[in-house]
Symmetry: C2
Subunit: 223 residues, 2 copies
């Protein structure tokens, strides 16, 4: 039955076309201001057609967003697969997230969706499940890397690896969010370089979770 396979493929292609059209509009306008009519026009489809593929505007938004989390996962995966010392890997993952922020700003912005539960009214169960799986991969990768650091004795063993992951993520994420919003305000009005602040807090936290042996072995991580 080659016909069914072709149809399946075409359907998948159309789905991707819709995501690409939506991406353009969401990048430009954000979730609130983007309209399904505009996305439909950009996709050269009727608005109703979009609803054959996605149940709501929010679902479609998440479909775009997942392209972003796939990219982030790949970046992290590449970083932790280099075979460098684990302490360096953990530090590099932080740098990679900053790279993602700088290079994929539009996707980074979309991630804010998860930070504002008030928007979630129209998200379908299925889509939320897909996103959870996607995010889970990233968390697993982070936690495993930190666990490895503990096993190798460079990270203090009395800490909870997930706690460390949340701590580092939370800190980076929050400062980058602030940079995205109002970097210029802090720089010009307050004379404060948020990028430097990010580097500083990362260093302080990293140093705080290292073992004494690791500090001797890797003095470059000691402020």
């Amino acid at each position: 039955m080659g016909i069914n396979e072709r149809k399946e493929r075409e359907k998948e292609e159309r789905r991707e076309e819709i995501i690409s059209a939506a991406e353009k509009v969401f990048f430009e306008k954000g979730l609130q201001i983007a309209t399904m009519d505009e996305i439909a026009e950009k996709a050269e489809l009727g608005k109703s057609t979009l609803y054959l593929y996605y149940k709501s505007k929010e679902d479609l938004y998440l479909a775009v967003l997942m392209r972003g989390s796939d990219i982030l996962y790949e970046m992290f995966h590449e970083v932790v697969s280099t075979g460098e010392p684990t302490m360096k890997l953990i530090s590099n993952v932080g740098d990679a997230y900053y790279q993602f922020f700088k290079q994929r700003r539009n996707y980074f912005r979309m991630f804010h969706f998860f930070e504002n539960p008030q928007i979630h009214r129209q998200v379908s169960e299925e889509m939320m499940g897909l996103c959870s799986t996607n995010n889970g991969r990233i968390w697993t990768l982070l936690v495993e890397t930190i666990q490895r650091g503990m096993d190798e004795g460079v990270i203090q063993k009395n800490l909870n690896p997930m706690q460390v992951a949340v701590m580092l993520w939370s800190n980076s994420n929050s400062l980058m969010r602030q940079m995205d919003r109002e970097d210029n305000y802090w720089k010009e009005k307050m004379g404060l370089d948020l990028e430097a602040t990010l580097r500083l807090t990362n260093s302080l936290l990293l140093e705080a979770i290292m073992t004494d042996e690791a500090k001797e072995k890797y003095p470059e991580f000691v402020v």
Copy 2:
């Protein structure tokens, strides 16, 4: 001219009534789902009347939010006025923010508004100005306290006091935001206590910015 003063007073009272009605609705539904019709009904006024007092739903939202930032300012102000050692003050301010989070959850949630610039389309210049002033007071208070810590030699002098303020705020805020969203998820699915994570990161950062003399003098802040 007692009449004009009475009118002025009545207008101010009505303004407060509107804010109180809006507060109930926004607390219950959040910015997106709350409707001006519902607020008008709760205030026992016509919807159009609301627009005589506030230019948009967002402006009204910010009027409510500012009640929250006034409360937070008062809490911080009380904490830093106790005359305790500055190191203790800085630590207490962190605790106060956590108290605010626990006791004034609804206001804490509203603060998220500032973290999502995509919502801001309808905020008037005036209202944004009022909010900036309000927030400015809080930042000034934080920065001054940290500066005092530096002057007294308990905080490392090579740091930028504003940088330290942003660092501590950003860290607390981010973790509390996460607790608000999905504390149960992390607790039950991941076995992770976010409150403990918050305490840990606060301790680590605080210790990292202290001078060596301060660590000797105040060993309770050393992990």
